[in-house]
Symmetry: C2
Subunit: 119 residues, 2 copies
Amino acid sequence: MVFNDVVKNVVEGTRGALASLIMGTDGITLSSFTKEGTVMDMEVIGIEYANMLTDVKKASESLDTGDVNEICVTTEKFVILLRTVTKEYFFAMAIAPSGNIGKGRFLLRVNAPRISREL
Amino acid sequence: MVFNDVVKNVVEGTRGALASLIMGTDGITLSSFTKEGTVMDMEVIGIEYANMLTDVKKASESLDTGDVNEICVTTEKFVILLRTVTKEYFFAMAIAPSGNIGKGRFLLRVNAPRISREL
């Protein structure tokens, strides 16, 4: 399945990447991949970020700043990258702060249309 | 005043930057600067993002991912960069999508401690 391939490929292609997932804005996972030996629950993180994305979209509408394409949150333990795929789905990845964030952003951006075509 | 200098310098030092502000997480502005000829209300954007920052901090606490250092939201019209300065204050900048986002991130990061020392 293309979704399973994509979530695996972006993690394996990004130095420091820990996990990725494709999730509905309702918090239901379509596909996810977590690197072996990683102790994190990407699904729980995804659900929190699905809520956040909904809030940011509402803010963006009320501010008339157009559609939200990407969100990047840097915390002490992770960098969470989130890219909107369609109105109903987003694609997210967790990367260690020392990882290659730029490569992660690039891979989410180029793979989002591939996911979009299958939805 | 150092705050007024900092908000002006980061905008003038970043290609494509439109406005910046230092705001309390309660949505009250400490200092702001908007480039001449820019039709945007950075304060209104700041207030929306103050709410978002509070939500992201709560999410980060419940996920145990540590303090939130930076948020970057890319919409069709702007890139909004936000850097936490202290628990009570953040530093934000709006940049055109074609601007130098990397330079903006850098300037927020290096100037945040300067602001922090004065708070």
